[in-house]
Symmetry: C2
Subunit: 386 residues, 2 copies
Amino acid sequence: MREVAVIGIGQVKVDENWSKSLRELAGDAALDALRDSGMEKVDAVYVGNMMSGSANQQQHLGAYIADWIGSRYSEAFKLEAACSSGAASFRTALMAVASGEVESALAVGVEKMTDSPGSEITAQLATAADADWEAGQGLSFVALNALIMRRYMYEHGWKKEHFAPFAVNAHANAMHNPYARFHEPTTIEGYTRAPMIADPINLMDASAIGDGAAAAILIPLETVKGRTTHKLVRVAASAAATDTIAIDQRKDPTWLTAAERSVKKAYSQAGLTPADIDLFELHDAFSIMAALSLEANGFAERGQGPRLAIDGEILPTGRIPIATRGGLKARGHPVGATGMYQLVEVVQQLRGDAFGSQVQNARTGMTQNIGGSGSNIITHILQIAD
Amino acid sequence: MREVAVIGIGQVKVDENWSKSLRELAGDAALDALRDSGMEKVDAVYVGNMMSGSANQQQHLGAYIADWIGSRYSEAFKLEAACSSGAASFRTALMAVASGEVESALAVGVEKMTDSPGSEITAQLATAADADWEAGQGLSFVALNALIMRRYMYEHGWKKEHFAPFAVNAHANAMHNPYARFHEPTTIEGYTRAPMIADPINLMDASAIGDGAAAAILIPLETVKGRTTHKLVRVAASAAATDTIAIDQRKDPTWLTAAERSVKKAYSQAGLTPADIDLFELHDAFSIMAALSLEANGFAERGQGPRLAIDGEILPTGRIPIATRGGLKARGHPVGATGMYQLVEVVQQLRGDAFGSQVQNARTGMTQNIGGSGSNIITHILQIAD
């Protein structure tokens, strides 16, 4: 198996991008990544996307986007794993290059959500839950996460305001990210006064949807030297695991078993432990997911995720910086694109291009993209290659 | 790169399977493949599917199906490439095993189409065309293929009845396939009297949709010996190429450039020529696509595809047998599953399990799955491993 490097990254600002079509959004990010890599085209295009068939009446995004970016005739298809579709496209690109099937691959995540009415998007997001056993009962994703958060607070004695530092950190970091949807800092008071959506989840616990795209170019590590002036970033680990889609079928809804399984494989591949991770772009679709992720990935004891946030350990200067470019909360969560934003942001950190939220001397960064309510979890570890 | 073998196959009958849910269809085929392989579970599950988000209100099929078949915690995601989604799942499984990322993978294609009204399914199928430049103009897939067929007949002087032998062969072969949707032979006269759909395409030129699922288990070739009593089948080649989605943007709408590019790579990988192929499961969604496929893959001169059919060379006893288990025309075309049916059927032929439509001494079989109107084409060559 060949080692693989990330030689180019690109992204567009997460926003209500009504003036750009799906192919323009994906194309802007992909062409940005190609320019960054110094390459003109790629052998393969893997697109991460969840809902283009229903939200944009356009499937078949592989051929659709490959042609648009000047890679007509390239191999191309789409990956879908609900909100972890972006990381699935990166993992597929990695396997394609590692196997020797292709010499270069573009992974691009894209989602265009804000053209449709909110109620329709909520229903389409619910197709990531179990149609028979969850969505059919009227449970939206916010509702599912509210049930988990309520149970977690009950079991571990946390109060609502203890989750505030997750939003405060995300919004503060997004101030330094021109691609983030929000450039509005918030405070503990701002958090506690935010409107309730599904008790106990309020507006500041929940990430915002959006239109966005982010992309990366992968090539064999052995071929990259001398081709770029950027610091060389290699993929040190890639691993995925699933769990039941329906939460009620898990023994413990407050523990992310798939995250634990996925990250154990990743740590083992890379020969690392949690102490070696300089920053962690986790999947803070809801603040409860941030807390659970810190625990399942070995950064906090069970039930103690919020403690890290309260103690400031999740800040760019802390022990395990998270959401360093705004996270899903403040950069925004265009679902099929999110996993690729996380990977692009880690590359920015490792290159030292993260401006005011730069993690000093970052050499190893981890991403974790979650599909459904903890049911499809894909972990990547990127490292500076010496 | 490790060589990969197919150790198990499974499928369900293509039909109006109203009494089975999406997960039951996929599960039946997957469990059938697991039983056939002698294995209990796999490291990874790759699902080929096009329209579950809109037709079944269920996305996230990776986790959904992995859990259902007893592979909870396996890596799992969905591949979409319109009608070539099935072959995309097989190719992803191949890359995953070849790269060493996993030791076993299940590729399963599934589609459940007949619960929705026909008009709705036609609109959902049109999302495989270009939403802005084709579907938005009111062009359905039958209409697009009718335009291609009309032009082809004009350029090469063929009459409508010259396409009849494609349907006659497909329906005759399906008589020997218990998993085929139709067990009704047809004749030249039956073809010419079939109702017109979109002139010149009549009911006997067009494949039928359906509900179906087909699956295969892939493992490293080096680990397979002694684990199965079946003849050993290895993947000799896997290659994909795209073209513009919109047909009007191609120089020549009557030539499948992506097929030619895809198969050239495949022949090169396997060290083979068209003369070495014992049978060819091509993508006869419409009879014009069968003719164009025979030409682009090197079995007929340009414009001479129908000649092979007229001369009986596409029969199981002919020079290049096609649709040997009924093809899309008579086995049926549950879109995201079709590519996997083709692969399963070639394995059956290589094992000698094709009953009355067995190709004698078949040692090398090829499949080609087409997404859109020739815009995403994935070719595989399977061979008996000695």
